[in-house]
């Protein structure tokens, strides 16, 4: 027993090093559980408040760019106005997802919530974006996030009262269901951890028609993003020798380095879809 105490005293520094390193690695591996813990909510509020102060300066310096972005956004929205579409006599109807015709029985499916980017990173291996909008302002976990030009940015992973943390596409766990505009083959968009604004599209069969410059859209298969939001354009096509798939390098539509304002997308039908899926799983299990 005495020897054990002597051993501990002799190697106390080394033992505390191992303990601290072990704790750090536990945090790294279980960061998802940490994100759900109460402590993370507190840290979010504290760092969020400091970030907001510095963001005020930043925002002022980037006013010109934000303006240009808004003009572009306005242009796009104006082009969607109903007056711009000429209706011939034949009974066709122009329907968009975002304009509700409640009297006709159409239901709103997607709600766009604007949010200010309080801080963001691109240089780490797992990048997060912090939004200055939280649960008190109706932002929910698992909402999709897009930039003003409808480029996919990421998914909300953590919400505190006034702030939200978004896992950007530049994260090792980020996986977005995507479709090629030409041909409609579906795959997954991931990040290989190297260059910001360069993504990888995997699980595309070699039989698919792929060309440089093609657009890659969200597939709409998940409840997070609607169909047809731009993820990026194809920059390079590499054929994977070990499988029958292509590995496609994309240039992302969103520029993660200078995000100022983003939109979070809330899906009103998500609960219904999830409930049905759960029922289906329960039935097959019984």
């Amino acid at each position: 027993m005495r020897n054990i105490f002597l051993f501990i005293r002799r190697y106390f520094n080394f033992i505390s090093l191992l303990l601290l390193q072990g704790f750090c690695i536990y945090l790294i591996v279980h960061y998802n559980t940490w994100h759900n813990a109460a402590a993370s909510g507190f840290m979010n509020e504290v760092t969020g408040k400091i970030n907001t102060q510095f963001n005020k300066i930043d925002n002022y310096l980037l006013l010109k760019k934000t303006n240009e972005q808004l003009v572009k956004d306005n242009e796009r929205l104006r082009n969607l106005l109903k007056e711009n579409f000429d209706k011939p006599d034949t009974a066709t109807k122009f329907v968009t997802d975002s304009i509700p015709y409640d009297t006709l029985g159409n239901r709103r499916k997607w709600l766009y919530l604007s949010a200010k980017v309080v801080s963001s990173s691109v240089s780490a291996q797992n990048n997060f974006i912090v939004l200055g909008r939280g649960s008190a302002q109706h932002l929910k976990k698992d909402n999709g996030v897009i930039d003003p030009n409808s480029g996919v940015v990421g998914i909300v992973t953590d919400v505190s009262e006034n702030f939200a943390v978004v896992m950007s596409l530049l994260h090792k766990d980020s996986k977005i269901s995507a479709k090629l505009k030409n041909g409609g083959d579906a795959g997954q968009v991931i990040w290989d951890g190297k260059e910001p604004n360069r993504l990888s599209l995997i699980d595309i069969r070699k039989s698919a028609k792929v060309a440089k410059g093609d657009t890659v859209y969200t597939s709409g298969f998940t409840a997070t993003f609607p169909y047809g939001l731009m993820i990026g354009t194809i920059e390079e096509v590499v054929s994977d020798k070990s499988t029958n798939n292509y590995i496609i390098k994309l240039k992302s539509a969103a520029n993660f380095a200078n995000l100022q304002y983003v939109y979070a997308l809330e899906n009103f039908q998500k609960d219904e879809i999830n409930r049905m899926l759960k029922n289906a799983i329960n039935k097959t299990n019984n």
Partner: protein, 177 residues
């Protein structure tokens, strides 16, 4: 100014500079400059080693909280704080220099070269452990080695610039009184 107050100010300033200046400079995707760990390099000689590691953990954890990615910098800082006393022991010029001066600097280490070596080795330790933990999840190791070396070079350059710009006054304390 007392050592405690000085160190608290350093802690806050270095974290703010790291988060709001350096993290926003995107030099190249291979290079991420870090300077916040200067706080650990500048910690006083006379300090309990376990306390050094705990303070280093707090520093790393603070930066991690800003990046919403707990563990990475904390782990690198703890390792850095663990290796620091060994290096000081090797590089200190003569017996007792660590009691004559308060903290490591070019003057107390006996010249610019030993100090540069001290900073360089510890920067390399910090960066390689940090990028190793990050690369471990992705598994691209050539990328990891190149990133470590290039980032170390840039960080070291920054440390030299900081050292030249903000010279710390180090008065000689004698313990023979």
């Amino acid at each position: 100014m007392s050592t405690l107050v000085k160190n608290i100010i350093r802690f806050v300033l270095l974290i703010l500079v790291q988060v709001f200046v350096l993290d926003r400079i995107h030099l190249h995707f291979m290079v991420t400059p870090y300077i916040y760990f200067l706080f650990i390099l500048w910690m006083p000689f006379q300090m309990n080693r376990t306390a050094q590691m705990l303070i280093a953990f707090a520093l790393g954890f603070t930066l991690d909280s800003f990046r919403h990615n707990p563990g990475f910098h904390a782990a690198a800082c703890v390792l850095l704080a663990y290796f620091r006393p060994f290096l000081i022991n090797i590089l200190i010029p003569q017996e007792g220099a660590d009691t004559n001066y308060e903290e490591p600097s070019a003057k107390s280490m006996g010249g610019f070269m030993p100090y540069l070596l001290y900073a360089g080795v510890l920067t390399l330790v910090h960066h390689s452990w940090l990028f190793f933990l990050e690369a471990w999840q992705f598994g691209n190791f050539w990328y990891f080695i190149i990133k470590t070396l290039s980032s170390t070079a840039i960080s070291l350059l920054l440390i030299i610039i900081v050292e030249l710009l903000f010279s710390r006054k180090q008065q000689f304390r004698t313990n023979t009184v």
